[in-house]
Symmetry: C2
Subunit: 196 residues, 2 copies
DNA sequence: CAGCTGACAGATTTCAATATCTGTCATTCC
DNA sequence: GGAATGACAGATATTGAAATCTGTCAGCTG
């Protein structure tokens, strides 16, 4: 498993890439720091020079992975459309992104679920990030009179929690069921009605 | 651990009581059919005369346990109050009942969670039961004009799913956090507004 | 004879010995 | 001298043998 090009310098980024690859191949339970080092052609001591612990490495990989989702969604927040449309699009995109990740990268997704279980800061940060995006949409809607909400941040929290079934990894199994899309649409309708 | 009174006849009910006791004491992982038989002073073959498999026994215990919650809630459905009040009271009672069970009987609760994981019919039945109760309240509210809902059953499904964070055992850890009650109240407000 | 028993086969769990991994650090290498 | 190494101690995971459990059933018992 030699690298395709001679390794220039060992950066944190290169380690994260290799770790993601190892995780994808072996899954979270069987992916060791030694494996990552071997994939990079270095000793495992070197990896510890960049990440203090295995947990920190796992967390960094997950953060990178989660940030890709956040970035995609933040595009929707910035779009020039009615707040209600953005809210619907944003929630749909979140559901779709999670569903796709669970299906495409089951091993990485399992790693993410381990982190959720451990209450890792990366997950807390991700949730804070997403809730922040939601807050912005809802605040916009409140400003324009579409929504009637006294505390947009609290409303965002509630909307995020209420839609948990469609983005919380614990429910991943349900996402493939045929009723999922219909249930999701009904839920979003109910929540939007409640915000108006 | 001799029985307090001489065993009259071995009924399914007596087995369920003993099983619940064993589960409470040993937890779901370490509670064996042999233990249950020993607690009853019979051979384990006898237990198998009443329950075909260990899974069936576990399921029956859980069902009995869940039915106690359902029965308590069905009282609220039948009360003579406005639908909105009943909806709020019902959801609050559900949250409170689950929270109490998780705190008081952690071992039995763990058994319940195993069942949820296995997608046992007892759990599906319990959910169907609860959703049915919700449907009745929402249908009442629709009839009286408080709620505006085209399909009360679908609305009940959505309300149940949206409040999952406050009754799904997977979230049990969150129920003790101080924000839980506030979040719950906000969520119920939002949902009630959406139903009107 | 209806209900219960206990021995049994196969599946699962436990346990302890062994191997591997994590995280540190004195030393080596460019 | 800054980056990487690899030997090491303690923690964790793997493994395979022994013990226990599940589910069956021929026979005992009242």
């Amino acid at each position: 498993m030699a690298a395709t090009s001679p390794p220039p310098t060992l950066t944190a980024e290169r380690i994260l890439e290799a770790t993601e690859e190892v995780l994808r191949r072996h899954g979270p339970a069987k992916a060791t720091v030694v494996d990552v080092a071997r994939a990079l052609g270095v000793s495992h001591g070197t990896v510890y020079r960049h990440f203090r612990t295995k947990a920190a490495l796992r967390e960094a990989v997950t953060k990178r992975w989660l940030d890709r989702t956040s970035a995609a969604l933040s595009g929707i927040v910035a779009e020039d459309r009615a707040a209600e449309d953005r809210l619907r699009a944003w929630l749909a995109a979140l559901f779709e992104a999670k569903r796709r990740k669970a299906g495409d990268d089951p091993e990485l997704f399992a790693t993410y679920m381990v982190l959720v279980d451990e209450n890792g800061p990366a997950v807390a940060g991700h949730i804070a990030d997403l809730t922040g995006q939601l807050t912005r949409i809802i605040a916009d809607g409140t400003a324009s009179g579409t929504f009637t909400v006294s505390d947009p941040a609290a409303a965002a929290r509630v909307v995020f929690q209420a839609t948990g079934r469609f983005h919380d990894p614990g429910y991943a199994r349900e996402w493939e069921r045929p009723e999922a899309d219909g249930d999701f649409a009904s839920l979003v309708d109910l929540l939007v009605r409640g915000l108006r």
